[in-house]
Symmetry: C3
Subunit: 308 residues, 3 copies
């Protein structure tokens, strides 16, 4: 396992199974003994460059940095950044790297985080590049599953909703495939997992099945990962309304599931996941969001060389 | 008096007279010995969630937190928050409470701060919920009057301007009524104090009178609290212009007032309070704004259990 | 030399040659021994009031403050400030000065920083007031030249691009004139240095010449300072396109220049300075941007009385 110091966190593909497990181990330390690292990054600066707004992700990174004793600065919106004046991303990064010690960046264009990492001498944390990668989300999803189930090995994990455009789904499925999980994909017609994702899963010997509705899949799932289905994906509102019905998780909908089933959702949710589920033992999504802090603390501390 | 630790600051109605006086006492300590608490909240995070912009109030809360040694993060504008994606306030709060230790929140909808406080396990500081409550403003108004006059008991306090929609007026008037002040309300027709506010004052034995112009009221006022009259409240620009004339405080306007009269204004002001008044001994409004810092330091420190 | 404590940084005209050199000396200390001042401003607050967006400048000031151990707060955009409600600049400043210890302010109106400094009791750092002054930029330009060339005396410095509206050009040229540099101005017709700037240079005995194209000027330049030519300055797109060709710095363009020529640019650049120049030894503009940190650390530390 190569050291994490000065590494970039761009894509899950850059990490071996052992490296992933190491990040989760450090996240656990941050979770259980946060005060141990309360001054670890004193005097250091995280720049949050959000060329596309994402309040939750930005605040999660900033909170993680503050919990490590560091300072933060940045922008929440492209509207107030120099890129509006026509500046190239490359120039923006070259300048900000002389102001900060680590950058968390979100950008609407796929591959932009990789480009930034090739330019900058300081670590880049990809906070989402278009529909491509959002690795800190995948790390926190994995951490949440591991903490809840005690392992990542051999679980039965369902994915439900828009599996075509769901960036978090693709890299989480890929990672869980590596850990020998059995994957069940439930999606409406036209929003299935992309064929290249499935082929890759097959190549690595991953077990998976596709379904059009949840009833057939629910069996004894350990985890159900839900994503939002956006109206914009449908040409016709009637089609959307028809689909939505079958992808609206309520208490009734969960009848017959294992009592140990845990539901994850990257949030924000709209109506694909009813608020009445919140009080059931199935709801794990707020815990999942909270796990963003120790996970991002781990990532920042690792690339800054404060833990190894 | 119940402890302040973990309490929410939602509405003045939640506080007894003794509790109000206790907050003002702590504010005085913060004012006179700020360095004593310079590290009190080290490692703690204040989230400022402004679903509606209010630069002054936001910066005042952030400054208070920084003066206590804590860190801050948040958003200044709904434009860059997840609520734009249709997320419920309840979800937003559940997530942010896992990122921060205390939340200062402003929201255009009445009752939203109370709702947030019922959801969150960390303290909520209401920084204004629609036309309803803005308790930290009332605390700083009371602190300012108390510091200037040496007491809150038995003063003669005028309120002038838009008394119908002025949120700060309603809760300040109510609080001063409890302290036995005599209240004089001066407002144009149609912008009088709401009848339910007056009835409540009457029920608690408060002394008050209503006036249509300042001349009759000025007598020996100790305090004059001025609020802005907004053009939008009038259907007709002519009506607005006519009213404005009588509600434009200038040096001339103040002739015949007591030399000890002090003027407060929640700011920002436009033309209801002439800049020439700034150099007179009557002007207390910039001092009032400055008092936002020790008052908010007190509120944060109290609910965080750093002082009792 | 008068002390810097409590001084405002509004215009280069407020500083003698000796004072300028002193700021650069302190900047060098901040550059070489940043850790020496890592806690210098603990507990102090910088307010960044950007009534006009400028991400680079704002982040540079915030980074400088964080590097000195202080805290920051402010706004990036007039959209979320009280000035939208019609508040006067004077009122905004009077209030913020009671929240912070030093203010860095950018405003679209010339003279606004001076006005603010006359109102505030805390130091004002002008981060750009309209087309007028941007002194921290001039200090960092001077620091960059001095560090690279070992001196500010007697250099041969070219300025190229829009010299009429280029705020940074005017004050840098003026300062370099004081240090006995020879100045060469290269600009398209209609965008020449303003005649009052040239007259002032002449009065102080400065040496300068004007050119319409770079070929005649390049001789043995030590420094070339490039600024952007904006399309908006031309009534006709054809004129703009014609001009742009001659003002587009590429490797080829630089043939025949001294190998010791160094290029500066206040950034952001668009296409007036080709990315291929970045890898040449001529490129000094990213170093220049990085020098914003020690220079602004020096300015903040000086006006806060932490160094003398």
């Amino acid at each position: 396992m190569s050291t994490f110091e000065k590494r970039n966190i761009i894509s899950m593909r850059d990490f071996t199974k052992d490296e992933i497990l190491h990040v989760l181990e450090v996240a656990k330390v941050m979770d259980e003994e946060p005060s141990k690292y309360a001054h670890a990054l004193e005097g250091k600066i995280l720049a949050t460059l959000f060329f596309e707004p994402s309040t939750r992700t930005r605040l999660s990174f900033e909170s993680a940095m503050l919990r490590l004793g560091g300072g933060t600065m940045g922008f929440a919106d492209p509207g107030s950044s120099s890129s509006k004046k026509g500046e190239s991303l490359s120039d923006s990064i070259k300048i900000v790297e002389s102001y900060a010690d680590v950058i968390a960046m979100r950008h609407p264009v796929e591959g932009s985080a990789r480009l930034a990492s090739e330019i900058a001498d300081i670590p880049i944390l990809n906070a989402g590049d278009g529909s491509n990668q959002h690795p800190s989300q995948t790390f926190l999803d994995l951490y949440t599953i591991q903490q809840e189930k005690g392992t990542l090995e051999g679980l039965k994990v369902g994915f439900m909703g828009d599996l075509k455009y769901g960036r978090t789904v693709h890299s989480l499925a890929n990672a869980l495939g590596q850990f020998g999980c059995e994957l069940l994909f439930v999606s409406p017609k036209g929003l299935e997992m992309p064929s290249d994702s499935l082929e890759e899963l097959a190549r690595m010997g991953g077990k998976f099945k596709e379904f059009e509705n949840f009833e057939e899949a629910k069996g004894d799932l350990d985890i159900l990962y839900v994503t939002r289905i956006q109206r914009e994906r449908f040409g016709d509102d009637l089609d959307y309304d028809k689909v939505r019905e079958g992808y609206n998780i309520s208490k009734k909908f969960l009848e017959g599931c294992s009592p140990d089933l845990r539901i994850l959702h990257p949030l924000p949710r709209v109506d694909e996941l009813s608020a009445e589920v919140d009080e059931t033992p199935h709801a794990l999504y707020f815990r999942q969001a909270a796990n963003g802090i120790p996970t991002r603390m781990a990532l920042i501390a690792l690339v800054m060389g404060m833990v190894s």
